[in-house]
Amino acid sequence: MAPVVPRSGDAVFANVERVNAELFTLTYGAIVRQLLTDLEEVEEVNKQLDQMGYNIGVRLIDEFLAKSNISRCVDFKETAEVIAKVGFKMFLGVTATVTNWDVEGTTCSLVLEDNPLVEFVELPDTCQGLYYCNILSGVVRGALEMVSMKTEVSWVRDMLHGDDAYELRVKLIKQVPEEYPYKDDE
């Protein structure tokens, strides 16, 4: 059997079924609106968006692995590149750039110049503290956790807050080995 070769982001995106980005963008807008109505506090909305992203990440990782033919994710540096070039491309049709590595090689930035979530969006004065795209940080955190990398993900630049790009800071806390899950026997 021929070895399975990981596929490039463009190749995967060209082969998956796609939908109009507006359906996606407007649906996301409807979700944020619902959360703002339900939770009232912007801080709570940020938290809920992050949680929803995490839930998505936990599911999405399997699709990502299945479609991209990636059979292992062990090295953090390699994984960050794969997320940026294949992961973002495969789902959102855009690629991110990995930059600003720290000396230890455990913290880096994912920079997005195009972001389909924010088409049509401008933050009203009442929502200045809102991280509109917080779902993305949750997705990255959730997906990485499923491949045993515990991370902290936060926004350092956000175009909706007047910055020149979207920048996610990803910090690897630890890699979790696979444990034998049953406690009651050896």
């Binding site: 399997d62 692995l65 292992r72 994710c73 499923m146 080995p177 696979e178 899950p181």
Partner: protein, 201 residues
Amino acid sequence: MQFFGGSAAAEMTPSPAAPPGTATGLAGNNANMLYIFNRNGVCLLYREWHRPLHTLDAQEDQKLMFGLLFSLRSFTAKMDPTSVDKGNLGVPLLPGQGCSFYSFRTNTYKLSFMESPSGIKLILVTHPKTGDLRDALRYMYNLYVEYVVKNPLYVPGSPIKGQQAELQGSSRFERVEGSGQQVHKLPILDSNPIQGKTNSG
């Protein structure tokens, strides 16, 4: 039961004649059982097509199967003659660390195994003479993604149930084994009962 019997032993031991009712003689399904586990050892799906002998209750059975795979993976990585990075026996491995095995065969069955980096484990137990099922397993992983993971009502980590698991899921899973059978016409013997796939860099 032999796990590590060399190929000679495997060839010398005649495979048992297919018992009446096994699908081996018929076109299509020659699978005995299918298990899908997640990284926490939860059995997400169990299906059996031909399993005349049950010695344990379902829960014990699943636990034992998961334990077997867990230990076997640890053993195979430890015994890898080509890799320096093999960890210590009993010390948990990172998923994807070290080599991994993808099938073993006894004189009565063959177990094919696939693990995703996210810790989803697919196990297919078939007639011992079944050929390479890695493609079939990967296809099943894709089905799991399409029909389980994307279902808005599915809660990750819970056993797969509901109409879709019945209709879409397992009938397709069955079809996979059917196609596996057709693709790999019997008898095909693997050269090694345990094939260690070394993941290099």
